[in-house]
């Protein structure tokens, strides 16, 4: 088996896929759900229901706030209790729609049967529109609205659709379970994305640590007989599933600084997104649930749950038996890029892929010591940056030098901090520099635009 990987850097954290044998199981619906209006990158959605309204599963409850925006659907049936600010996973107050659950009544027109629909519609535009109406966003974690990704700007052309099944973050297994248990749907979703992009070839990229999924998806592709679709076995290497890294690995093309994947002819969609595309297009089912890996060595019961969007974390944890005594950190997502949860009352969003429990020993950072100039951070950086240098420049608040040394290219994968023997908080500091550089770049672009408009007048 030949293995593919990206060309610069990367690290090998232990993959710890301890929940890999746990089949997907639906979580009982919580008594109350809180559905946020800001579950994606772009403008927050605008609520279109009022307090006291009765809603059904799959009904639109918030509309896009702009082109880069997404529909939000009710994940339950019941009564809207409030529309008010509430702390999200990071502890920030954002508008949530509170729904008290009554039964489980679905909107008419949603196909809730298990029948696999393999016929691909002819109209590419209709497919993209259905994806938009289904509120599909990138479920790999970035939550970028999928229909926007599928609408390339004029002049750019998609040459290949890549389905990202790398799941390179340690611990996470929800994509793996989805590939195993819903492989047919994922493959049909991939075929729909192929069609939406004009019949381009499609590569389903899966890391070598998931041999069952690789074999299963190969079988499914052969069985369903879609053309120009193949499985590529990827080397186990973090961040293999990073968008730019994956395109480099699959197509040997590097997306430039600040550019989008489409600039090199690539469209990348996660496995969970492909499933959501299948459900939205073939079954009229919008994104109302997603699979969440609940795991950690200290966690008594590993699980891969199908969770309705807006379920408070506490309900998930209670269902699985509560928080273990020695857990000190709960992470939404994987251990490399996930966010530490500040608040257990917070509700899941479309992009919530995992809840990881870590003990103090697993997650405690040792005290920082002097840089020994070993260069391990630079070797690990998949963007070819020099984290030791950016760290110093950020600390010195030299934003111009940060930009000259490409702080804006940082993808925040965490490889530098992970590999630093001196435990220097490299990424913590580089994030600050990156933030300042990006705002400077945006300010320049805005000024240039304003100047151009002034010149026109």
């Amino acid at each position: 088996m030949s293995k593919h990987t990206f060309s610069i850097g990367g690290v090998h954290p232990h993959d710890n896929k301890i929940s890999r044998e746990c089949a997907l199981e639906p979580l009982p619906i919580a008594p109350v759900v809180y559905i946020g209006v800001s579950q994606h990158i772009g403008a927050p959605s605008v609520p279109c229901v009022a307090v006291g309204d009765k809603v059904k599963v799959g009904q639109v409850i918030a509309e896009p706030g702009g082109f880069v925006g997404a529909f939000i659907h009710s994940s339950v049936s019941g009564t809207v209790k409030s529309i008010a600010p509430r702390a999200d996973l990071a502890g920030r107050a954002t508008t949530h729609i509170e729904i008290a659950v009554e039964g489980d009544e679905w909107l008419e027109g949603i196909d809730t049967s298990d029948t696999l629909i393999t016929a691909i519609p002819d109209d590419a535009k209709a497919i993209v529109e259905k994806i938009r109406l289904g509120g599909v966003v990138g479920l790999g974690g970035a939550t970028f609205p999928t229909h926007v990704k599928l609408s390339p700007p004029p002049g750019s052309k998609c040459e290949r659709v890549i389905i990202n099944g790398c799941e390179c973050e340690p611990y996470l297994t929800s994509d793996f379970r989805t590939l195993l248990e819903k492989g047919e749907q994922v493959v049909v979703g991939a075929a729909l994305l192929q069609k939406a992009m004009g019949g381009v070839p499609c590569t389903i990229a899966i890391e070598e640590n998931k041999p069952e999924a690789i074999a299963h998806i190969r079988e499914v592709i052969a069985k369903l007989g879609y053309k120009d679709m193949d499985v590529m076995v990827m080397k186990m290497m973090y961040p293999q599933g990073g968008e730019k890294q994956l395109i480099d690995a699959v197509m040997h093309r590097q997306v430039g600084s600040g550019a989008l994947p489409i600039s090199v002819g690539a469209v990348v969609q996660n496995v969970a997104t492909a499933l959501a595309v299948y459900e939205a297009v073939q079954k009229n089912k919008p994104v109302i649930d997603n699979s969440v890996t609940v795991t950690g060595e200290c966690f008594p019961r590993q699980a891969n749950l199908i969770v309705r969007v807006g379920t408070p974390l506490q309900d998930i944890i209670d269902y699985l038996g509560g928080i273990p005594a020695d857990a000190v950190k709960i992470i939404s997502g994987g251990p490399m890029m996930g966010r530490a949860v500040a608040n257990l009352q917070a509700a899941t969003v479309k992009g919530t892929g995992a809840l990881l429990f870590l003990t103090e020993k697993q997650t405690r950072r040792a005290p920082e010591t002097n840089c020994i100039r070993c260069g391990k951070c630079a070797d690990a950086c998949p963007m070819g940056l020099e984290p030791f240098l950016l760290n110093k420049l950020s600390k010195a608040a030299d934003w111009e030098a940060c930009e000259a040394n490409a702080a804006q290219d940082c993808i925040e994968c965490g490889c530098c901090l992970y590999s630093c023997p001196a435990q220097i908080p490299l990424l913590d500091n580089i994030r600050v520099g990156k933030g300042f550089v990006l705002s400077a770049i945006r300010a320049r672009a805005a000024a240039a635009k304003a100047a151009a408009e002034a010149a026109k007048k």
Partner: protein
């Protein structure tokens, strides 16, 4: 659990720490240490003991009483400096000379610059060169090893020193090198610093460090290649005046320097390209000093000179950034 810990990602860390990397270097040096003790006997053990103890104690005392900072001896870097200093002097060096070397290595070359990671020059080499310049008799007169299994001691200069002396007296290189069996050089050096006693032991340590991914092989290989090519050219042109490549590779602490001194993280370039240029510089300067300089062995000076240009090499040779020209 009452409180949730919240901090930025990543939430896990590799097992590497400064201490674990330094421990690997200590492990890699063990074969060379054992060989030196076996060949030179209890006197070498004393040299090693004095050197390591002085380096560690000095660093501890300086952090505690002068810098009033937390002690850094736990990272084991002072132990490495101590071992390397000991392996870089003849086993006959008096203990007080070694102590002075440790003062210069740790006190001047390392702690004055701010401790580990901050120094420009390799501390052990600065200590060694200070001793070489200050106490040339102790540092260049070599006594034939008595060893644990003891033969009689004979005193004489190091092989490179003997050749330089011989050339000045009008002998040819062929006559002079015929006195040495190269196999002896590989397994048991005929003279010089204690650490050079067994090339194979040093190379075993180097291979260990590469396998453990503590260091990358490029700097070392680039030094070897440059020394080989440079001496091949000179030797090819004038074999009576210039020593041959194999002799140059096996003598004068080249293997010790290339494997353990030039690969020091702190004082070598960050990038692979920079490392290769760094190695070429060391190899070339070594050969120039050996062939044309007044010191018979050039590795220490060559490494220290190249240490000085590391900041420039770091600036000039960067790895390619993703998606950029």
């Amino acid at each position: 659990m009452s409180k949730l810990l919240v901090s930025p990602s990543p939430h896990i860390h590799s097992k590497d720490s400064t201490k674990s990397l330094m421990l690997d270097v200590v492990i890699a040096l063990i074969p060379a240490v054992i060989c030196s003790v076996v060949f030179y006997g209890w006197q070498e053990l004393l040299v090693l003991g004095v050197s390591v103890a002085s380096c560690v104690l000095l660093e501890w005392a300086i952090t505690k009483y002068m810098l009033k900072a937390p002690s850094t001896i736990g990272d084991l870097s002072a132990v490495i400096t101590g071992i390397l200093l000991a392996l870089n002097v003849p086993y006959t060096t008096p203990w007080w000379v070694i102590f002075i070397g440790a003062v210069v290595a740790i006190g001047v070359a390392k702690m004055t610059f701010g401790g580990i990671g901050q120094n420009i020059w390799n501390p052990a080499l600065v200590g060694r060169v200070f001793l070489l310049v200050s106490f040339p008799t102790y540092m260049t007169t070599w006594n034939a090893p008595k060893g644990l299994f003891g033969a009689d001691a004979v005193s004489g200069p190091t092989p490179l020193g003997a050749i330089q002396e011989g050339l000045m007296k009008g002998s040819t290189v062929q006559e002079l090198t015929s006195a040495y069996d190269y196999k002896d050089l590989l397994f048991a050096n005929l003279g010089g610093s204690a650490g050079e006693v067994c090339a194979l032991a040093l190379l075993a340590g180097f291979v260990y460090l590469c396998i453990r991914k503590v260091i990358k092989p490029w700097i070392t290989l680039s030094i070897f290649a440059t020394v080989a090519v440079t001496s091949l050219i000179f030797w090819g042109i004038h074999p009576a005046r210039f020593t041959d490549p194999l002799f140059n590779l096996l003598t004068g602490g080249l293997i010790l320097g290339a494997c353990f001194m030039a690969t020091d993280y702190v004082t070598s370039p960050m990038s692979v390209k920079g490392g290769i240029v760094f190695g070429i510089g060391i190899g070339f300067l070594t050969m120039m000093i050996r062939y044309f300089g007044s010191y018979p062995e050039g590795v220490s000076f060559a490494i220290l000179i190249m240490n000085s240009v590391v900041p420039l090499l770091n600036m000039w040779f960067k790895q390619k950034k993703f998606g950029r020209k």
